[in-house]
Symmetry: D2
Subunit: 382 residues, 4 copies
């Protein structure tokens, strides 16, 4: 729509996929790129059906990753980047193939099943000088970016204590046993990786904490549980954390909080102020101060930083949401690719992109928590 001319292919995200449709809407919202190719499903037939439904030419509807990489590489009008939205266990192979062939990659989270895979992909992207972004989409919210900017600017002083939580209720019963698609693969360690709630939503929480505070998680002490009978992976995790800079944090991720939809929030308290953001009311950021005052900062209302303002599309009071935040990730992707091609320095949106190194930290976080919990909640370094 904006005539920037970029095109992309998608791996996964066929009919019935929730997250694939979200990625496509996020890209379409700003006209960031056009979907022109894909390997949408694990079976060639369903992949073709999805391609047709999505308006992708049959000739660019591929049976699998290998075919996509081979044939797109051979085209003059090859796609500019590839979006990977398969179940977790496929990410590694798909991203590896794309990067090796020289494609920029945007990969869903959690990045990979093992941190060794993640490290390999990070190094591969670095050596190939290709973008390898990981869609930690919550960091695209304007008020999250405002929070990050306020911390950097010293508005709350040195960070002392953070609380980050991601509470859902949709796995309170054995949904996987009913065959529900989203629940089923997440319940299977072979597809989801080591973490259940830890991997699916805990990694979002972990990344948001790092994104907002700029601190690294140095060690964790985790207690995890599989509350629902028959479930193999954790559906609930509570983690004590020590951060760089002598800060501390607690992180709780749970999918058995009955009735909670997407209760994701972060609270950061520093020496002189605090910041509270809740995903279900994403347009506000509460800023607290030593004098006890609470100010509600709102998207679109001055004074906000340029980081927040450039991530915003509408005037204040006209609610933006999940898709707009997600779209900001893709704005960064587009900015990165254009900057790379024009040889200019990447702009602010590109600089805020979560990358392979963030994906690697996320997988390492899950591994450390699982190790800690297995040993009865001991401290494990990340």
């Amino acid at each position: 729509m904006s005539g920037n001319g970029l095109t992309y292919a998608m791996i996964g995200g066929g009919t019935g996929s929730f997250i694939g449709a979200v990625h496509r809407m996020a890209i379409a919202l700003d006209g960031s790129a056009r979907l022109v190719a894909g390997a949408f499903s694990s079976t060639p037939e369903r992949s073709k059906e999805s391609a047709a439904a999505l308006g992708v030419d049959a000739e660019r509807s591929y049976a699998d990753v290998a075919e996509l990489v081979e044939r797109e590489s051979a085209r003059d009008d090859a796609v500019d980047f590839v979006v990977i939205v398969t179940p977790n266990h496929v990410h590694y192979e798909a991203a590896k193939a794309c990067l090796e062939a020289g494609f920029h990659v945007v990969c869903d989270k959690p990045f990979t099943v093992t941190s060794a895979q993640a490290r390999e992909l990070r190094e591969l992207a670095e050596s190939k000088k290709r973008l390898c972004a990981v869609t930690y989409n919550y960091s695209g919210y304007p008020m999250v970016r405002e929070a990050a900017e306020l911390v950097r600017s010293g508005a709350i002083g040195a960070v002392r204590k953070c609380f980050v939580e991601y509470h859902q209720g949709w796995l309170s019963t054995d949904l996987a046993a009913t065959g529900q698609k989203q629940a089923s693969w997440r319940a299977d360690p072979a597809k989801a990786g080591l973490g259940g709630a830890l991997g699916d939503i805990g990694t979002h929480a972990e990344q948001l904490l790092r994104f907002v505070t700029g601190l690294e998680i140095e060690s964790v002490c985790a207690d995890t549980t599989s509350f629902v009978p028959g479930r193999v992976l954790d559906d609930d995790a509570s983690v004590l954390m020590r951060l760089s800079g002598s800060a501390k944090a607690t992180l709780t991720a749970s999918q058995i909080c009955v009735g909670e939809a997407n209760g994701f929030s972060i609270r950061v308290y520093g020496e002189t102020g605090g910041l509270v953001w809740r995903q279900e009311t994403p347009e506000q950021l509460v800023r607290t101060a030593l004098d006890g005052s609470k100010r509600i900062l709102s998207r679109g209302i001055e004074p906000l930083s340029s980081r927040a303002n450039t991530a915003s599309r509408l005037p204040s009071g006209h609610p933006e949401g999940f898709i707009e935040a997600f779209a900001n990730i893709y704005r960064g992707v587009v900015e990165h690719i254009h900057a790379e091609r024009s040889g200019s320095a990447p702009g602010g949106m590109a600089m805020q992109l979560p990358l392979a190194q963030d994906g690697e930290r996320g997988v390492r976080f899950v591994e450390a928590c699982v190790e800690s919990a297995k040993n009865g909640a001991v401290w494990v370094e990340i």
Copy 2:
């Protein structure tokens, strides 16, 4: 993106336009149609610039409405519909020309400057059997549609009293005097019409009331004010209203409520229950009952009607907002056009489209309020 193949032209909405960009994002979100033509500005030169920026071919970038209508009509691949997002006073001529040439029209609100113009357009659309939709976008929110459905289903009994308010603060000072574009034309009766706040936001409130309750406004008793020195049109209006079915309502529309962003809400109380919806938290609908209980209904959480569910894109807890609601209007446009072409009955989204008759009611509402206020707040029938 969805391959449905529709195309559209835009009149107005060039560089610097707020609402034009919103329409385009709303259409792009679902891939409802592709922008391929336009007359984007009042000067041909700026129109061309906007066309280029928007990726529209130069040959379909037109100098004015007349040229657009003439040359698009002559094409085999003429656009399927025209979106009109100019200042108010241009709506009538533009819509008339498009309808006469046989184009489907989607027009911003308030529909026209006079109700006579609106009636003429309504009759023209009827005789030409063309769609003439008016973008009362707030009726696209899923929870607004749920509210409408609950009223229809008898969930709150016969409606007794409604409170609808639309409070903003952005015109608390003489913004037009600073040359701010949005404020300037709204301050000019020749461009905005008879109503200031009444026309700009009061008509949204009036339409939402009718959409949710299904009742007509029979008469109004209005007190209007221009609080800011030098302003000609009202910046504040308070209206007592009598509705069909012996119901009553108050409507307040104000643009001098300092600090309010987009405080639009509706509260409907019937014999056995009540419904409260606020645009700044659009994902929730509060339902009250005779026993004093309050239930929070949330988008995506059962039990909701199919009207709400089909207007929803994401799982609960992943906030949708203004653009998604706006996009639902365009889903209705697309459904309508496809149904018309296939000769099938239009689906639910099309049936909920605000049309010329709604636009006409809105203009008539403004006229009646202005007449009432001019005579010191007397009752005027609509």
Copy 3:
């Protein structure tokens, strides 16, 4: 408890009275005075029973107002003030008798049935130099007092437009027909006066508006309804108002808003700022500004005025409520009486007491609204 030694008598407020118990708790909270006498019911027998239950000596349990006045006047240890908490129609006779005998009076609202009675009581109190306070208790909330102070200090500039509303749902059905005591006398014009919702809650709204803004209501244009079949008095009123200083306001009072408990709020917008207070979250006051910012001011959190701070008992975050606000009215009564006796100037709590003149304005407000509505919503001066 505080050893200040004041005593009081109560007229009305026997068993089954809601408001009598509230007055007693409000007085007891601070040990403002001790209840030592009373004529608690319309029958001597039930009055005695109430006296016994309340720990009042039998010899100071009186059959009626006349006896109370006569015998208390004759005592050396006569009560310091009399609290009148009967149904509305008894207020006038009771207050008149007490004032004539030289007692300070605290009377519930609405003050009297006619404004002529109210004027007479006001003049009587003035000539006798006795206190005649009216328990507009909502003006006792600390954050209401902060709002009043902020307006006085110029924090929001000249007031332009106010919205005050008091919405309840408890009379959505014909509760009086069931014999429910509170509903029954309120439904009877002989006991309640001219106003239904107008008198019962509309007067609270009217007084709060005057208390916060310092402006007078100059004229009203009212539409009232008795929605519930068989009800004589209004159960719903919508009022357009013109205030001194060229400000305007809307006031809505309704008791058929199904499911609303005590939805009392005030919003005041001036030239440079706004203030929003809601009774159901009384500890907060939202302050808005031209730059769109919203600050939450909280009881106990600096910077607040001394008017708010002296009306507060607990640290911030330890919720205070309805009884504490009510008790602040009685703190004013005690301050007034002590100042009068010591010949000193009354302190700040006494200076904020709603008095007979406020009660008179309230009754006049009801009369004017009823007259306006009877004539089809015409403007009536107060």
Copy 4:
């Protein structure tokens, strides 16, 4: 006021005491008892001054606990119970002396400095058959009691995971160094005991968790910090907990959450539902269900249990708060004493009283957390 005739003495709570005044208001609100004696300060002189200010006869103003116990015991009209509101380290000696002399005791929390002391007091109260209540006042809120009742009734199924947090910001700086009275003794291990935030507010959180869920905390894994330089005791604690019945919980107590006033909340998720209560909006309890629905239960709105209704004084929408909740503890004390004297079974309010055994659990909780943290966050049984 209610003529029940009980009297009490107070130890501590003189001029400048916050909590002493709260206890007195809570008792006065319902006229639960009359304050007639006391040893209000650590110096006889200031004790006398406080007594005079509080209206206590000079002859019942005692120099210290020993004198109070000796001389009150000798009176025919000895007080019915003694309220202990001193700094923590005095609780044990004062309570012991009172219990040994046969007085009923109401003691502030945390109960004692060591769990050995607490156990001794519990056994002493049992052997003397005297009441020894501990004022965990938050368990007096009606909606907390409703939550407890709902858990007992099976409304949310077996409890799985709880989150309880108590976050304040008032100790974000070294307030004790400024000499602020409340901060100073809390900072001194000799007066406060082993716990800082743990003892002061962590024990409230621990008791609320037990009160609502009916579960016991079996073991803890705690990380504590003294963020403010120079502070000896913890000002922040994060605790993983294992509860009876295979449930788990996290508890965080912090006094360095800048800008938070009294952010105390509990969230309990069971197999089929959840409950969320926040102290700063104490009138509501949110109930969640497997279908994703959220219902707001409000004090005074049916259907509530009798436990909630008997703890309520006002109609819904008339906010009750901290003092009313505190007063419910004293209603239980009065009920207990009356039942004991009449030989009848204690009523519902008495049965919900937190007792010495609860105080003992609280001190043991602090000890276990301190031990866990000292050893680097290991599991410690309580």
